[in-house]
């Protein structure tokens, strides 16, 4: 989920939390501290890269970018998820019709 959001556009921690909350309609709510642990774990694994950038108001924020390895992992995970959700749909649809 994090890789997917970062893959769409470079984003910083606070924005990421807001975006997850907005897109999931408030479904995903977690302790904000754990987001940073997850981001730093992904960065240590070389899937994302953090860079300090200056905003128009002069403040600095740490933006996260997806790396090449991160892009490959994201594609793999997407395929896995599509396969999994398609299989779940097939099973539940048959159960409903049966």
């Amino acid at each position: 989920m994090l890789l997917s959001l970062i893959g769409q556009e470079p984003i910083y921690g606070y924005q990421l939390i807001k975006e997850i909350g907005k897109r999931s309609g408030g479904y995903f709510q977690f302790k904000e501290g754990t987001l940073y642990t997850a981001l730093h774990r992904l960065e240590r694994e070389g899937l994302i890269e953090g860079k300090w950038e200056r905003l128009s108001n002069g403040q600095e924020r740490r933006y996260y970018y997806l790396t090449k390895t991160g892009r490959c992992v994201l594609d793999e995970k997407r395929d896995e998820w599509r396969g999994f959700s398609a299989a779940v749909n097939l099973v539940t649809e048959r159960a409903n019709t049966g």
Partner: protein, 327 residues
């Protein structure tokens, strides 16, 4: 910064035990998050203090966050593990190939150890640095010892009689202990486990000196070399290198502590096997127990150092409170 936030970030820092570079980077990032969140909460009508309370609650317990951050950064890469093992391997090579009598090799090794330590000191003090720091301290102790020995010999020959040599040497022990104590306290401020990691070669060297003295005697070994013991010493440092590499690769603190304790037992087993003296197994067991206690003693010191740190913080808070009341 608001006192609430400062306290929160200080607790995160003390539990994450990171090197200064990574620590300042993470704290800065968390700070920017709080800036954004408090700004947004203030727009809903909360005061800055109330907003800070809400923001820190949303973030979760600082200790839990610090521990999570520690676990992200505590596991080093294979290259970092190798870097941590190299100084031990250098000493293993020195003894395995009988290079310990070659002055050029010893001087080069000492220079490399000190240079790498200084380099790592200036580049964020990563975990592997503490392995090199231990050997740099040993180098310093040996140099001071040799200088004092020369001074003592000079004084006893030309001026003050043979007793002066022992007086000068007696002054060396407390100075060396104070220096070691100071280094331990400095490292414990970050993490007691790294202080234990730094101390790893000390028990090995002490136990070998003791074993050799119990055998033919250190002076005889100094003149005639270490015919059988050299390989034993080399294996000891090889084992320490393996332990150092494993320590860096592990993530959990408990496992890291266990590696240090096992390394001590392994050293004693190697010394017992290779030393040319008959060391009583019961004494060996007692000595290994003492060394494990010695190696883990920085843990007790950490409580005192951290406690002192929090006292200063409390005093700081009190001063801030008084200043606010006065205005």
């Amino acid at each position: 910064m608001l006192p609430k936030l400062r306290q929160y970030l200080a607790r995160v820092k003390s539990c994450s035990r990171l090197d200064p570079t990574a620590e300042s980077e993470i704290v800065r990032e968390l700070q920017t998050h709080f800036e954004d969140e408090i700004g947004e909460l203030c727009q809903t009508g909360l005061s800055t203090t109330e907003a800070a309370d809400v923001a820190t609650k949303r973030f979760g317990a600082p200790e839990a966050l610090g521990r999570q951050i520690y676990e992200v950064y505590s596991k080093g890469t294979w290259s970092q593990a190798l870097l941590a093992a190299i100084p031990h391997f250098l000493l293993a090579l020195t003894f395995y190939f009988h290079l310990w009598q070659n002055n050029f090799w010893l001087l080069t090794t000492a220079l490399v150890v000190v240079a790498v330590t200084l380099y790592a000191w200036r580049h964020g003090r990563p975990s592997w640095f503490y392995s090199w720091l231990g050997y740099s301290l040993l180098t310093l102790f040996v140099i001071v010892f040799l200088v004092l020995l020369a001074v003592g010999q000079g004084l006893s020959r030309f001026m003050l009689g043979s007793g002066m040599q022992w007086v000068v040497m007696a002054a060396y022990v407390p100075v060396a202990l104070c220096l070691l104590g100071y280094a331990i306290v400095c490292v414990v401020r970050r993490d007691w486990l790294l202080a234990s990691f730094m101390l790893l070669p000390f028990p090995a060297i002490i136990v070998w000196l003791f074993a050799l003295e119990q055998g033919v005697g250190l002076v005889a070994y100094g003149k005639g070399g270490l015919p059988g013991g050299a390989h034993g010493v080399a294996f000891t440092f090889l084992a320490l290198g393996g332990a150092a590499g494993t320590f860096i690769r592990l993530r959990q603190r408990l496992l890291k502590t266990a590696v240090l304790a096992v390394a001590m037992l392994l050293i004693l087993a190697i010394v017992w096997r290779f030393a040319e003296s008959n060391i009583n197994p019961l004494i060996s067991l007692f000595v290994s127990f003492c060394f494990i206690i010695f190696l883990l003693s920085p843990c007790l010191l950490q409580n005192r150092v951290v406690h002192r740190g929090s006292e200063i913080e409390a005093w700081d808070e009190a001063c801030l409170g008084q200043a606010v009341r006065k205005t």
